[in-house]
């Protein structure tokens, strides 16, 4: 298997971009990634374009966005495909790009994830995301992703003693990191006083899906991110003058039953566990060797549950690590130094690519002051599709080449 390096990253700001098109956003991220790699977007500069997007066809009334992106970047006749795997579309596209290079069918793959969601109303965006759910036994009841996250949170609270104050601690840390991240959607710090302890907390942090409150869930965001993958033994790397690159050490994926009710235990995220096990096996690593993580905290409860499923903490104990400061930027295992989906934002198809961009930035030592992890060795990213029915885990490190 050919080793795969990430030689360029690009990222638009996450937030509101309703005056642009989804392809325009993706193009910006792609150009930034090519520029970061010291390459131009000329035909032949990449062997393959892969695009991750969940909603361009439904929300933006545009299909064939991979072809459109190849055209506007003047990459034609480079092959281009769209990958749709819900909110995990971005990491799925990276996984397929990795497989193409590892298998020898491409030397360079440009992976771009993007989404333009805020062009529709909140209730329409909620319904669009809910189309991920089982059409016969979930969607028709009015179930949504926040509803499942709320029910998961309640069950977790009852089984493991989690409190809403525990969740607020995660929000405070996410916003502290996000405030320092120039691409984050929400760049403001929040305090425990404002969202939990103080007299105005109930108003500032209103309930959206009991027991979840506003600051327990991520915002709806627009944005795009891109990575340029290259075979680590390719002659294309020799002209870069860099002696080290960020490598993909391991990447794994797994599925779970579509309907949450079909799972043996609604609190067990089997696809997260299995995707991580596959990534660890490929990387020949164990969880105790991980330096930091970018975990899919579309709902704060998921940061805890994912961290436990991938072996960073025993089941039910992640909340204690958060309370002890272990997941802070200077803690034993910093989580979501980017601000996570909670503060950085969650433009569905872009999220998995954005998480890997953050791994690269941290491993290169290029994160902004105050949110750079100290001497990171291995970073892990978990991109969560559906309500955990299709998950991709990626492990990266900086290696001498």
């Amino acid at each position: 298997m050919r080793p795969v390096a990430i030689i360029g990253i690009g990222h638009t700001t996450f937030g509101t971009h309703v005056d642009r098109t989804v392809v325009d956003l993706m193009g910006e991220a792609a150009l930034l990634a090519l520029e970061d790699a010291g390459m131009g977007p000329s035909p032949g500069s990449v062997d393959q374009l892969l695009v991750g997007s969940m909603g361009a066809g439904i929300l933006n009334h545009q299909t064939g966005v991979a072809s459109s992106l190849a055209s506007t970047l003047n990459l034609v006749p480079t092959p281009a495909e769209l990958i749709e795997n819900g909110p995990a579309s971005g990491a799925s596209a990276i996984r397929l790009g990795h497989a193409m290079i590892a298998g020898g069918t491409a030397e360079t793959v440009l992976v771009v994830g993007g989404e333009l969601m805020k062009v529709v109303s909140g209730s329409r965006a909620t319904d669009f995301v809910a189309t991920l759910l089982h059409p016969e036994v979930e969607y028709q009841s009015g179930m949504t992703l926040p509803a499942f996250a709320a029910m998961f949170t309640r069950l977790y609270m009852e089984r493991y003693g989690l409190t809403l104050r525990d969740l607020s601690r995660i929000a405070v840390r996410a916003h502290r990191n996000g405030a320092l991240n120039p691409v984050a959607h929400v760049r403001k710090e929040v305090t425990m006083e404002a969202i939990h302890d103080g007299p105005a907390a109930a108003e500032n942090n209103r309930t959206v899906a009991d027991p979840l409150r506003l600051y327990d869930v991520c915002p709806v965001s627009d944005g795009a991110a891109a990575v340029l993958l290259c075979a680590a033994d390719s002659s294309k790397l020799s002209g870069h003058g860099k002696s080290s690159h960020v490598m993909i050490n391991g990447i794994g994926a797994a599925t779970d039953y579509h309907a949450v009710q079909s799972r043996k235990d609604p609190l067990y995220l089997e696809a997260v566990y299995r995707s991580a096990q596959r990534a660890y096996r490929m990387a020949e690593l164990t969880p105790d060797e991980i330096s930091f993580g970018e975990l899919h905290d579309a709902f704060l409860i998921l940061e805890l549950a994912i961290a436990e499923e991938i072996g960073l903490f025993p089941r039910g104990k992640a909340k204690d690590a958060v309370a002890a400061g272990e997941t802070d930027i200077d803690g034993r295992i910093p989580l979501n130094p980017s601000g996570g989906l909670k503060a950085k934002g969650h433009p569905l198809g872009a999220t998995g690519v954005s998480q890997v961009c953050e791994l690269v930035k941290q491993l290169r030592g290029q994160a902004e002051a105050g949110r750079q992890v100290r001497d990171p060795r291995y970073g892990i990213a978990v991109n969560f599709g559906g309500f955990g029915n299709n998950v991709i885990t990626t492990i990266c490190s900086q290696e001498e080449i």
Partner: protein, 129 residues
């Protein structure tokens, strides 16, 4: 080579199906059982089993941000474990839901927008043991 397979019964008919080979009970109904057997390729039928009409509330939420197509200000939703072990999700017609409470399960026709059609479950407070 077969030219077609038999049609899978959709899950809105409120009946669980039992795999004729391994006895696993499914709701919703897959095309292939986890034992690898697919009745759709054979002349064996899934055994139909009516879902229990009562169960225990496992978890619940009151959703304020309802999706497009639902004409209500909020929805109360929950997951129930039926007395026969099957889990399902549905709407709750309960003033004060609580995890563990016993509920009766009813079905109702739904027509909320173009895609929410068919049957859904509604859980109400259980008044008798």
């Amino acid at each position: 080579m077969k030219s077609s397979v038999r049609t899978r019964p959709i899950s809105v008919d409120t009946q669980a199906l039992v795999c004729p080979k391994c006895g696993a009970v499914w709701y919703p109904v897959p095309m292939v059982c986890s034992c690898g057997f697919s009745p759709l390729l054979h002349d064996l039928d899934w055994e139909r089993r009516a879902l229990s009409d009562h169960g225990r509330l496992v978890t619940w939420t009151r959703l304020k941000a309802v999706p497009e197509g639902i004409e209500k200000e909020s929805l109360t939703l929950g997951m129930v474990e039926l007395s026969d072990g099957v889990h399902l999700v549905g709407q709750l017609d309960l003033d004060q839901p609580a995890s563990g409470m016993h509920v009766d399960i009813e079905t109702e026709e739904c027509s909320d927008g173009p895609y929410r059609r068919g049957v859904r479950f509604v859980c109400r407070e259980r008044h008798h043991a």
